[in-house]
């Protein structure tokens, strides 16, 4: 009895202590302590790595050769054709290979296909398949496996990022396979699509013998890593494929662990429980940067955040109103205030090195005076009420910044945060005024990056701005079948300039990907999708 009384007291004391400590809020000391711990671990790892050969070709080293990577979720399925989820793809991109792979400059390089030719009309790609590729079970990869895989992919809706533009596949001979497209497309796009891990090459006999369900649990491919185990809800364990046809990877043992909370991930990084984490939140950048044992590897994603208007609904059917709101959108406040400076401020839908990028576009820098003047010109000197629809918490934050500036020019905006499903219905049905959204795509290309939101023929599918400009539609149609880069450039330039004047969408931040990791981990380049081809990662000495 007595002991229980004490337990009771102790718990009450604990509560008080927790409030007190939390109230103090000083975490400087403990962070340093954690840093110290990590340092000890890190140094040890590095010394061990020193002893090894550590060459770039990935010869076996005797140093640290294991890697624990954290990411936000557990894969729903490991069937590459049946899981549109980046956590699945981080596994399948390493267990399987695709016909081609993208290199660090985002150019397609041979992989399972050693070379390819394209028919004159641009609709048929003939790939020559390597003859020396072996699956993890020792079987040799044949053209039949390739045909089986692409066929399976075409028939799997969730593999459409890879095969959405593909109509069919044919075996030419024992070395060649012909991929037939639905229409001519830009070559870079097609190759980038085929390189996506949604549609890799699988073993026909394995998939057929174990069945789809078992395959989704125990994937087997040709990739640099063999699948070992999937502890549901916790982690996926991979092991190096020493016979990999592109050379054995230098990191031998990989675990992809689920840590949904990025603050918790950072704690785990500091304590050395994990070596790397994919995409920590920007509010944790400061903490990560202050720790000398942790580094942040960054790179541009293929995606950006934007504000979109319902251009068919008053008052946003008035271009002046849209321009006014564009001027009231404080890009710097969003970038610095919400993103802690992580990302790139944006004036158009592609970055500078893209085909068609131009400086001639109208730029909307934060200017409430201009915004007010434009509103008055449009006939709304006193503003109006409207709504801003968003899905995620992050977009709700951008929306709050916009809401606050709009209030200053008299526009009262109400934020409506919805579940994805509800959001699709309201925006798709045109029952909204403004929405803050983001997009991601497979290649840096004007058509890919904004076509879905502004092409007239896509109204009812993906175009929720209901923007329908015949000239822009015409330019896009032409661009789709233009193979020459210079000509494509002029077409895209006109599109970008027109869009910047009509403002159906206001792009504001280009997304950045990061891997936050142990300082001794070498990550030579950033995968824009954050799928991460781990063969290229290594531990430095």
């Amino acid at each position: 009895m007595k002991r229980n009384r004490w337990l009771c007291l102790a718990m009450a004391g604990l509560m008080t202590a927790s409030m007190f400590l939390a109230g103090c809020g000083g975490n400087g000391n403990s962070t340093t302590a954690a840093g110290g711990e990590t340092k000890a671990g890190g140094t040890q790892g590095a010394t061990e790595a020193n002893a090894g050969a550590g060459t770039e070709t990935g010869a076996a080293t005797t140093g640290k050769d294991s890697l624990i990577i954290g990411h936000w979720g557990d894969p729903p399925s490991l069937d590459p054709n049946n899981s549109m989820n980046d956590c699945s793809m981080r596994v399948t991109t390493n267990v399987f290979d695709t016909l081609v792979r993208m290199d660090e400059h985002f150019k397609a390089q041979p992989c399972i296909a050693e070379s390819w030719t394209i028919s004159d009309d641009g609709t048929e790609y003939t790939f020559k398949i390597r003859g020396d590729v072996k699956f993890h079970n020792g079987d040799l990869l044949t053209v039949d496996d390739v045909v089986f895989s692409i066929d399976r992919g075409i028939n799997s809706p969730k593999a459409s990022p890879s095969y959405g533009k593909v109509a069919g596949v044919e075996k030419v001979d024992d070395q060649h396979v012909k991929v037939i497209l639905k229409a001519p497309y830009n070559q870079a796009q097609i190759l980038a699509n085929l390189a996506l891990p949604f549609g890799p090459i699988m073993s026909k006999s394995y998939v057929e013998s174990v069945g789809d369900e078992e395959f989704a649990r125990k994937p087997m491919g040709t990739g640099p890593y063999k699948f070992v185990e999937w502890v549901k809800g916790e982690k996926v364990i991979l092991e190096a494929n020493e016979d990999y046809f592109m050379g054995a990877p230098s990191i031998k043992h990989v675990e992809l662990v689920t840590i949904a909370d990025t603050s918790a991930a950072l704690l785990n990084l500091e304590s050395g429980d994990i070596d790397a984490y994919c995409d920590i939140q920007t509010s944790d950048y400061g903490l990560a940067q202050s720790n000398p044992d942790i580094k942040i590897v960054e790179g541009n994603a293929l995606g950006y955040e934007f504000l979109q208007f319902n251009t068919k609904k008053a008052p946003f059917d008035n271009v002046k109103v849209r321009q006014a709101v564009a001027y009231a959108l404080d890009k710097d406040a969003m970038l610095q205030g919400i993103n802690d400076g992580i990302g790139t401020k944006l004036d158009t839908v592609v970055l500078e090195d893209a085909i068609g990028y131009t400086d001639k576009i109208t730029k909307y820098d934060y200017n409430l005076e201009k915004a007010k003047a434009l509103l008055a010109e449009a006939g709304y000197p006193d503003g109006f009420t409207c709504d801003i629809h968003v899905i995620s918490d992050l977009y709700a934050k951008y929306a709050q910044v916009l809401q606050s500036s709009l209030l200053e020019i008299g526009i009262k905006a109400e934020i409506k945060q919805e579940e994805l499903s509800a959001y699709k219905v309201t925006t798709g049905g045109g029952n909204y005024d403004m929405a803050i959204n983001g997009c991601s795509f497979t290649v840096m290309d004007v058509y890919e990056s904004c076509g879905d939101s502004v092409i007239g023929s896509k109204i009812g599918e993906t175009n929720n701005t209901f923007y329908d400009n015949p000239r822009v539609n015409e330019l896009f149609d032409e661009a789709l079948v233009t193979v020459d880069d210079a000509k494509l450039g002029t077409l895209y330039e006109e599109i970008l300039v027109t869009l910047s004047e009509d403002v159906p969408i206001v792009p504001f931040i280009w997304r950045v990907r990061n891997v936050t990791c142990n300082k001794d981990l070498n990550i030579p380049y950033m995968d824009p999708y954050a799928f991460h081809y781990l063969k290229d990662w290594s531990w430095s000495s």
């Binding site: 409030m19 939390a22 109230g23 809020g25 975490n27 603050s263 950072l266 939140q281 509010s283 944790d284 400061g286 903490l287 406040a333 610095q336 205030g337 918490d393 709700a396 934050k397 929306a399 709050q400 910044v401 809401q403 606050s404 109400e414 934020i415 409506k416 945060q417 919805e418 579940e419 509800a422």
Partner: protein
């Protein structure tokens, strides 16, 4: 003759009721815990009612991104949140939102649940059977999941949040009201009233409801507290009020991301929620003791 007897009875009743109330109040006063609860609750209601006089609503939503995530200082007593908004002002105005969610949701579910429960309990038979099976169904679905489902259907926002919470409390009140009615339905004085020809509706309203008020009041007081908790919980999983509405749970949730760099954002709204719920629990507990003299000897 008849009328005179009826009138006398009513007068007696009223007098009895008044003295009963006084007796309850006398016993409630003796409980220090209940009085502490009452004082805190009145204080919070006071803040909610006079929020606009204490601090302008614009202060609660005014962004100042340069001064975000600051700890408590002379200028911002409880610090600022991730948009640089004053947390004290947000908590003060949040009291309106959180308390009104609690009170309104409970009152509505009390009326709806009470009506269903008293009709089912009074008439009994098939009607009672059907209603209770439906209530069984509602009660077998975990209330948090039910709320999440309803908010997903209706979309988030303050009124929808209230609807979701109300639905999950209707069943609770229905069961309580029904069972108290069952216990007194066959008691002698109801028989007597029925024998003297008093109408059914009148019996329910004049005799049954006042005599079941005790447990219902206790449950209602305690429920307001748990509704505030449920609403904050829904905010926590991202299904609460829309920004920049300063509901306590929403303020707290916004700070979740910054628990390492700015734990004060989580701390203060949590204390506010705790105080409100605690005051209601203290009061409810005291009421229970005051209404049930058996436990005090």
């Amino acid at each position: 003759m008849m009328t005179v007897a009826g009138k006398q009875e009513v007068d007696l009743n009223a007098e009895k009721k008044r003295s009963q109330l006084l007796e309850v109040w006398r016993r409630l006063k003796k409980s220090k815990v209940a009085i502490v609860g009452l004082v805190i609750l009145i204080f919070l209601i006071f803040i909610a009612v006079f929020a606009d006089l204490l601090v302008d609503y614009n202060v609660a939503i005014k962004q100042d991104l340069v001064h975000k995530l600051q700890g408590p200082s002379a200028e911002h007593w409880l610090g600022t949140d991730s948009f640089g908004r004053d947390i004290l002002a947000r908590i003060i105005h949040g009291s309106r939102i959180s308390l009104s969610i609690g009170f309104i949701a409970v009152i509505i579910s009390l009326i709806v649940g009470g009506a269903i429960g008293s009709i089912a309990g009074y008439y009994g038979g098939k009607l009672d059977m059907i209603v209770m099976r439906f209530i069984d169904v509602l009660m077998s679905i975990p209330s948090m999941l039910m709320c999440i489902c309803v908010v997903t259907v209706l979309g988030p926002g303050m009124s929808n949040l209230m609807v979701a919470v109300t639905i999950s409390y209707v069943a609770t009140f229905c069961v309580i009201v029904r069972s108290s009615i069952l216990t007194i339905k066959n008691s002698d004085y109801i028989e007597a009233a029925r024998a003297t020809g008093v109408g059914t509706f009148r019996i329910i309203l004049k005799h049954i409801i006042p005599n079941t008020m005790g447990p219902i009041m206790v449950q209602a007081t305690l429920s307001i507290g748990s509704v505030i908790l449920s609403a904050a919980g829904l905010s926590f999983v991202g299904l609460g009020v829309m920004p920049p509405t300063p509901e306590w749970g929403a303020i707290l949730t916004e700070g979740k991301e910054f628990i390492r760099t700015a734990p004060h954002i989580v701390l203060f709204p949590g204390i506010a929620i705790m105080l409100a719920v605690m005051s209601l629990n203290f009061l409810g507990d005291g009421l229970r003791d005051a209404l049930d003299p058996r436990l005090k000897q």
